[in-house]
């Protein structure tokens, strides 16, 4: 699996990104979650004895994903994948 991940990252560094990858990325940065939350969800959860879905502050997510002032490209979904080294 490590080899597959390395290959995938090399492709991303060339900014080649399948549509599915972009779609999921956008869903997460816009909603904070990878799955859509329907209006009836908490009703369903209550029926099964579960507490409401925990609250999520999207303002916080938006704030931390805004581009860094220093490099100007982080946080952009069109920028290349950033490696740690």
């Amino acid at each position: 699996m490590e080899v597959i991940i390395a290959l995938k990252n090399m492709v991303q560094d060339e900014t080649v990104r399948p549509e599915l990858v972009s779609g999921i990325y956008h869903t997460i940065i816009n909603t904070g979650r990878s799955a859509p939350v329907l209006g009836s969800l908490n009703k369903r959860r209550d029926k099964m004895g579960l507490p409401p879905l925990p609250q999520l502050d999207m303002d916080e997510i938006t704030a931390i994903l805004a581009p860094d002032k220093t490099d100007g490209n982080s946080g952009s979904d069109t920028s290349p994948r950033k490696e740690s080294k």
Binding site: M1, E2, I5, K8, N9, Q12, R17, P18, E19, L20, V21, S22, I24, Y25, I28, I29, G32, R33, S34, A35, P36, V37, L41, R44, R45, M48, G49, L50, P51, L53, P54, Q55, L56, D57, E60, I61, A63, I64, L65, A66, D68, S74, G75, S76, D77, S79, R81, K82, E83, S84, K85
Partner: protein, 293 residues
């Protein structure tokens, strides 16, 4: 023990029966589940990390900060969440430059990653903290004679230098968990294959899912057991897609292992949400019903 519950996205939104199984079974093992407001997607270890690693790390760091602020470790119920949070925790603890960069972003919301929390998949919590002997003590109806093929998936064990959960080439943790419930863990030839979910190719995921399912079918089991909702989706909904494409009815029911634990602890199949699966675990339920009779 008190520990923060990181539910992820798929389980609390789509597979509610899995969350029910976690919330019902863990208190019997002395685990106090602490819900924390504010957790976002982990975020996903494949697509999101590939798209932008700094954003991936920053979102994960914010989640880790919420547990740090509560003074608690985190337990996860999804292999993908475990992988993201463990890997991010490791990177942030070891890479000073990246930690500084991420903390500059977290400062915008008055947070700081300190590196004081640990991330554990719920199965490791049972093996390492609770102890499998204690799990056995809570079993009211041992799953005697139930044959379960464990599916480890990818993210529970790899990258192995960071996850350090088990031997990635010959893992035992799920087999031990299945045995603790009184069931028989059954090996199969394709036990190391990915469920196929991470592929974006239109045909390859179904072929991968099918290969695993056929391997399990040949092993003659009552169900396959897993600890990842993404893998579950591949094998549950995936079997319907395989049926539509090839006309095959493979009929290998996937089950989240904590649903099985719930059954063994005395909860009913309906309480564990087994009726909600697309591929119904008929032979499992028949064996359970004959045990109860």
């Amino acid at each position: 023990m008190k520990i923060a519950f990181f539910p992820g996205c798929l389980i609390p939104i789509k597979y509610l029966q899995m969350e029910v199984s976690i919330r019902r079974t863990l208190p019997l093992l002395g685990i106090e589940i602490v819900d924390i407001d504010g957790f976002s997607c982990c975020p996903d270890p494949i697509y999101f990390q590939a798209a932008d690693k700094v954003n991936w790390l920053t979102m994960a760091a914010r989640n880790l900060c919420l547990a740090e602020e509560a003074g608690l470790d985190i337990f996860t119920v999804c292999s993908g969440c475990t992988c993201t949070l463990s890997e991010a925790n490791h990177i942030l603890k070891t890479d000073e430059e990246l930690r500084h960069r991420v903390n500059q972003r977290l400062k915008r919301i008055k947070k700081q990653f300190k590196g004081t929390t640990e991330v554990r998949h719920v199965v490791t919590l049972l093996r390492d903290e609770v102890g499998l002997d204690k799990v056995k003590e809570t079993i009211k109806h041992p799953l005697t004679g139930v044959r379960v093929a464990a599916h480890y998936g990818c993210h529970l064990l790899k990258p192995s230098n960071i996850m350090r959960i088990d031997d990635p080439d010959e893992p035992q943790i799920l087999h031990q968990f299945i045995s603790a419930m009184g069931a028989d863990p059954v090996p199969h030839d394709e036990r190391f294959l990915c469920c196929g979910k991470a592929c974006t190719d239109p045909d390859l995921p179904i072929e991968m899912t099918r290969s695993v399912l056929l391997s399990i079918k040949a092993a003659d089991v009552d169900c396959m057991g897993m600890v990842c909702p993404t893998c579950f989706s591949s094998f549950d909904t995936g079997q319907l897609m395989i049926g539509r494409k090839t006309g095959e009815k493979i009929d290998v029911p996937p089950v989240y292992l904590f649903q099985l634990l719930g059954l063994a602890q005395g909860f009913s199949p309906a309480e564990m949400g087994l009726t909600k699966h697309r591929v119904k675990p008929a032979s499992l339920l028949a064996k359970l019903s004959s045990e109860v009779c």
